[in-house]
Structure formats: structure tokens, C-alpha cells
Symmetry: C2
Subunit: 329 residues, 2 copies
């Protein structure tokens, strides 16, 4: 594998000049620079990243730690981050914490060890160990969920309001016994969606029925929760579901029990998955601006890398309810 020395020898210059030429420093004679570039090309020279990063004490890499690679909401965030980062020459490495605080912690360690320039993460639980980043001066931004007890940059969605509106919509459609299937306690989006649901019921002067279930943010958990709710003596006639993976589990449960979605049970779910309008009946959803969350987070991170002293900001984006047949009486 060729090194700067090889390139230098071939171009008949010093390694310092090679470095300067290849990094586009203005203080190098154009002719020499051209000779260096040609030598590098001929040798198929690729700079040694670890050596460069060791010397520079920083890498043009940001780590993106998301809680579920199989969730379209998070992959859309990833697209937003990538597009912004690439524009300014940063690479993005994607890490899947799989909703596990342990894996998240492991990836945070790796991010520190690799001395990445910054980290964007959606915290998997209430006990994230991001404090490590702060104490080392590594820039980071939280997305989707705030970091407990951390005064960091954060990009959120006003998910409580969205949940409230979605629930109010179900009330307005005449549903009587509205249930809610949401994520684990301590995960902020799960708590907020539940709070918004309760806000709406309270505003409608409904007693909050025992129709709330909390489970992991995945299909399997929601499947169990839905079966449980359906087995009640007074089952719900509508459900607010906290993400699209859960919606899959709920729809399966309804199918298995012969309960017709949209007729027997009204549904609104978070996240406008590509398939949401294609199921029977088309799913009413709360569409979150996932791509934009990623793009905004990336811009905040870059700003913080450039100026570590800037005060932390909280950005809250809106979500919008898309009414389809699954919530129309």
C-alpha cells in the first residue's frame, strides 16, 4: 500500500509538499501540485485514515446511533443526516442500537475511541451514558427523544400535541372506548404520546378507561398488547398506536381475531410508512418529518463542532394528521 513517501519519491518532492498538495493548501506551486497529484494517481495512493486522524486528532466522521434500523422512521432520519453531512465532506457511520441501552453504550464507546467529530443519537432508554461524550468534549445532538438531564442540542417532534389531535379526531368520529398502545415508560416519545392521548380524553370529558398498554416499540409487543385489549370484557372501539412497527402487530392481531380494522376498531398510528395507505382500510397516520429531523440534527451538529461554546438549542418540528379510512366511522 503506497504512502506519502512513495508519492514524494515519485514526484521528486518532500512528504510535506505531498501532504500540502493533496490537501489543497494554497502555498504550493501549481506545477508541483499537479506533479504530485499525478504521482498519487499513478500509484493508486489512498491516504491512511488512522494516521491522518491520529495526527489531526479528529476525523471528518459523524456517528449516527439509531434505535432501530428496521424502522422506516429512523432510516428516513438517516437519509437526512447523510445528505447534509456529505455536502460538507463528512462521512456518516450508522450504528443500530436496537432499542438496547447496552448496545447504545457500546457504540458510544466506539465513537469515542474512533475520535469521531460528533454523534447524533436517538436515546434508547432513560439512562443513556452520553455524559461520557460531554466530558470529553465530543459534540452530540439528540433526535426524536431528549436526553435525560442533559442540556444538549435536540431535535424533537411535538408528539404530545400530535397525539392529542389524533385522539381528538377519534373522539370527533364518535368512537367511545379509545385505547392506546405506546412504547416503554421512560422513553419520552412513548410517554408524550400517552400524555397527548390523555389530554384529548380529558378535554372531551371522557373518563380515561383502562385501555392503555405499554410495550417495546416493536410489532411483537404490540401484537400481544392488542390481543390483550381485545380479550377485555369491554374491548376498545378505537386505538391510537405509537409507531408503524407496532401497527403491524396490531393489524395482525385484529386479523387473527376476525376484528375488522376501521369498522369494528378505528385506528390512528404514528408514522406514515410507505405501505400505510395500502392496507385495508388505508391507515390514518400522524406523519412525522423524519428526513427533516435528520437534516436539522446534522446541521446543528456541524454548527456545534465548529463552535463548541454555542448555547444548546431545542428544535421542535410539527407533525400532521393524515385522515384515511381507518379512523372514519
Amino acid at each position: 500500500m503506497p504512502t506519502v513517501s512513495d508519492v514524494a519519491a515519485r514526484a521528486g518532492v518532500s512528504t510535506a509538499t505531498v501532504s500540502r498538495a493533496l490537501n489543497g493548501k494554497p502555498t504550493v506551486d501549481p506545477d508541483l501540485a499537479a506533479r504530485v497529484r499525478q504521482a498519487a494517481d499513478e500509484l493508486g495512493y489512498q491516504p491512511n485514515g488512522p494516521a491522518r486522524n491520529l495526527r489531526r486528532q479528529e476525523a471528518a466522521v459523524v456517528a449516527l446511533i439509531i434505535s432501530d434500523v428496521e424502522n422506516p422512521f429512523f432510516t428516513a432520519i438517516a437519509r437526512g443526516v447523510e445528505d447534509v453531512a456529505h455536502e460538507v465532506g463528512y462521512s456518516v457511520v450508522l450504528c443500530n442500537s436496537d432499542e438496547s441501552v447496552e448496545k447504545e453504550n457500546r457504540y458510544l464507546d466506539i465513537a469515542i475511541q474512533e475520535r469521531v467529530a460528533g454523534v447524533i443519537l436517538s436515546p434508547s432508554g432513560p439512562t443513556s451514558t452520553v455524559a461520557k461524550l460531554a466530558s470529553r468534549g465530543t459534540a452530540y445532538v439528540a433526535v426524536d427523544r431528549p436526553l435525560p438531564g442533559q442540556d444538549s442540542d435536540v431535535v424533537l417532534v411535538d408528539t404530545r400535541l400530535a397525539a392529542r389531535e389524533a385522539t381528538a379526531h377519534l373522539v370527533a368520529q364518535g368512537y367511545e372506548r379509545i385505547g392506546c398502545i405506546t412504547g416503554p415508560a421512560g422513553v419520552r416519545t412513548a410517554d408524550d404520546r400517552l400524555a397527548g392521548y390523555r389530554d384529548a380524553l380529558k378535554a372531551a370529558r371522557r373518563r380515561t378507561p383502562k385501555l392503555v398498554r405499554r410495550t417495546e416499540y416493536k410489532a411483537a409487543g404490540a401484537h400481544r398488547a392488542a390481543l390483550d385489549l381485545l380479550a377485555q370484557s369491554e374491548p376498545p372501539d378505537a386505538l391510537l398506536i405509537a409507531n408503524s412497527a407496532m401497527a403491524v402487530g396490531v393489524l395482525q392481531a385484529l386479523q387473527e381475531r376476525g376484528v375488522r380494522a376501521g369498522r369494528d376498531v378505528g385506528l390512528v398510528t404514528f408514522d406514515d410508512a410507505p405501505w400505510a395507505a395500502l392496507v385495508d382500510p388505508p391507515l390514518s397516520v400522524v406523519a412525522q418529518p423524519a428526513y427533516e429531523i435528520g437534516a436539522v440534527a446534522a446541521r446543528l451538529l456541524l454548527a456545534r463542532i465548529a463552535d463548541p461554546t454555542r448555547p444548546p438549542t431545542a428544535t421542535t418540528l410539527g407533525a400532521r394528521l393524515i385522515e384515511r379510512a381507518s379512523s372514519r366511522r
Copy 2:
């Protein structure tokens, strides 16, 4: 940020002993090792990855370059790769080439620069530049699609056979004008699925009608293709669709044109997406063993890293047809 020297000073030993202790080398006194570990903990020491990798001339990292992060098939592969790699202490960095040969090439350069131990990729086009890896001795494995002109390890699905079976199933169900929407020419899976489709029609002594459309492997392209097919004077009465993203586009098109899936047009699509059984009507699919593809590829990569001289192998996994209502007359 503390370094080995800091730890050494605090533990009262040399940097060499710190390195040995922290890396679990057997030639270090247990008491000393404990003292070193304690000192490291107290300082919150995290090894400097670039320095370590520079010295070791290799990193325990594999790069996984997939052609579409938003496609569940590829994220399932990622899960398989991660699980196997993590077992043996390797990290996985996920790169999204977005079906672009240019981005793929860029990530290959980054992988080389970072001196990763190996690369797993699903080539985005017929003109991949992986040869760079070979010439540098970096291990790599292709998944889903073989590398043109490369004699590398590869993990594939017998997708031609699967397409043939799926098409034969449509024939057996009595569909007369069976169309096919597949990916770009030169992408092996797209070509193979088309070939399998033609195999089946030929075996059934059908004339191959002008009902084939090729487009990018995404919803938008398939949407256009489906509208185009429906506008024919003799539109298809069944379709074989080459992946689940495309299925989304096709189902949208059918909806827009008021064509009832499963009744007016039979459908079989590749990939058993989580939502496939939930649409109306439930989608018949060719289920590919995505997770296993990833797991096998990771094991092959690790084997090749351990022994670069081992002969390349080609693994072909089977797919299975799941018949649901969308293809039943």
C-alpha cells in the same frame, strides 16, 4: 483525554505493561493487571482507535455497503451481519450507497482509507470498482448480487428459480397475460428475475408478451411502469414484481386506476415485507432469507480475513413462495 502514559503513571508501570494488561495478554502479573485496569477506570481511559489501528495496521471493523437503507431486505441483511460480527468483537459500519455506483465507489474509498478489515457489499451496478479492494488485499464478500468479473466470495439467492416458480404459480392460477416489473438491466437480481419469469412462460408454451418493464428498484419507478402497463390496449391480468419497494408503487398505481389487486390483476412480489400480509388483498410473496444472507456473508468474510488464501466460495440460498390472496383467482 487520558492516554496510555497517564494510565501508566497512575498505575506506576510502563506504557508497555498498560498495553499488555488492557489487551488481556497472558504475560502480565495478575496484581499488576488489576492495578492497571483500576487506574484506567479511574481516569475514564478509552484507547485511541486511530493510534491503535495505525500501529496494528488493521481495524476490527467491517464495512457493510448496502444499496438501499430504506429497503427491509437490506436492513435484515444488516442485522445478520451485525449479530455475527459482534460475536467475535468486530464493529460494523453501515453505508448506504442508495443504488448509486458513485456513492458506492466513494464508500469503497473510505473503507480503504480507514483500513477496515473487510467489506460486505451489495453492488449497485454492473461496473463496481471493488477491484481496488482486491489489489490492496482487503477482504470482501458480495451479497445479493455477484460482482461482475470478480472471483470473490458471494452469497446469493436462487432468484431465477424463485421467479420461475412464482410465475408458474400465476400460470397455474389461470392468469393469461402475466407481466413483470423488474430492476435495471445489469443488476443481476433484476436480470435473473426476468429470466426466471421467461423460463416459466416458455415452459408453459406462452408467447412472451410485451409486458415487461424495467426501472430503478424503487416505488416511483414501479409506479410509472405499472401505469404504463395498465394503459396498454391489452393490459396484464397479473404481475411479477421484483421487490417490495416496487410493490408499493404498483399498489398505488392500481389504486389510482381503480384496478382491484388480486381480482383484476394477480400479484406476486419479491420480499416478505412485514406489511405484505396486511394489505388488501394479502400479498403473495417470494420470501428471501435476508437475515441468513447477512449472517453467512459475515462468516465468510471473517474466514477470509483469517485466511486470505482460501478459495472463493459461492453460497446460494433458497427462497420460498408464500401464496396469499393476491395471486389466487
